[in-house]
């Protein structure tokens, strides 16, 4: 598990760039698809695009995961027509704190942390990021934070589900690779 966090050194920068672009495109597709799904509570989504982020984190490291996430947020918003709108700012705030949470969680990969734990941390980070942006820019009222515990309680299981999907995908990828070689 820990060996997979660093990119292969034989790979050139260009091929890594291409890989990041391809993964980001995949994440954008999931992001756009997910935005078409109705959400029971505004602001609460399964965060399926985060599956890609987790897979990239565990295969290519944190920096690659950061690139894929930022490209997804910008690319997804361009396709959805929300670039530089409040939706985009919320999404970006969530992504940035989610990446910070993944950076912290990434330190625990050495002691055996898998995608499920990382996904839970990322989901909570994402929600907190959105709340911070909402509070700073749109609703500077302390009452907003009364919502936080309930949204966090809902985000935690969603993050775990995302992590399980990512863990299953990573296992599948590993099995495919072992067949090829």
């Amino acid at each position: 598990m820990s060996a997979s966090t660093t990119a292969s050194t034989t790979e050139t920068n260009a091929s890594m760039d291409r890989r990041i672009a391809g993964l980001a495109a995949l994440a954008v597709a999931i992001h756009v698809f997910e935005s078409a799904l109705p959400s029971p509570i505004p602001g609460l989504k399964p965060g399926l695009a985060n599956v890609i982020t987790l897979i990239v984190l565990f295969r290519y490291g944190w920096a690659a995961a950061g690139w894929v996430t930022l490209l997804r947020v910008v690319g997804g918003s361009l396709l959805l027509g929300t670039f530089l709108t409040p939706t985009f700012l919320l999404s970006a705030g969530g992504a940035i704190l989610s990446l910070a949470a993944l950076g912290l969680a990434g330190m625990l990969i050495r002691v055996g942390l898998g995608p499920v734990g990382a996904g839970a941390a990322a989901a909570l980070g994402h929600l907190l990021g959105q709340l911070v942006v909402a509070w700073l820019l749109f609703i500077p009222h302390p009452g907003l934070w009364q919502l936080a515990p309930f949204l966090l309680a809902a985000a935690l299981p969603l993050g775990i589900i995302t992590g399980l999907v990512a863990a299953a995908s990573l296992n599948h990828l590993r099995r495919l690779e072992s067949i090829q070689t």
Binding site: L113, G114, G117, P149, A153, I160, N171
Partner: protein, 124 residues
């Protein structure tokens, strides 16, 4: 052969996060319950802070004698007073933050405190 989907470290981190979320939930629910209180002052000195969500009655001693204050169903009132005109009793039940009743003869003051005070009046 195949690695497990969930590791022990995953469970440990999730447990820590769940406890943190649980504490935040408990704190926010607890804070909401104690949102409004009835403050009872005698001769300018705050003697009691009673939560409005618990029914109870207290008796305070003023210059004229004992005033009894009652809390029931989220409201507070003077239940008995030794003052001559009983104006404090006539005021009846009060419940919104900022509402108050003063019994000047016995120097007992009852007021509702809370985060969201209602306005006395609004001018445009």
């Amino acid at each position: 052969m195949r690695p497990p989907l969930v590791t022990a470290a995953d469970l440990a981190l999730i447990a820590v996060l769940a406890v943190a979320v649980g504490v935040a939930l408990a704190a926010s629910l607890g804070a909401r319950e104690s949102g409004e209180t009835a403050r009872i002052m005698v001769a300018g000195e705050s003697l009691h802070e009673l939560a409005l969500d618990r029914d109870e009655a207290v008796t305070v001693e003023g210059p004229l004698g004992e005033s009894r204050i009652e809390i029931r169903d989220g409201q507070a009132r003077f239940a008995s007073a030794p003052c001559p005109r009983r104006l404090c009793l006539q005021r009846g039940w009060i419940h919104s933050a900022g509402d108050s009743v003063s019994c000047l003869p016995n120097r007992v003051h009852l007021e509702i405190t809370g985060n969201e005070r209602e306005y006395d009046s609004i001018h445009y």
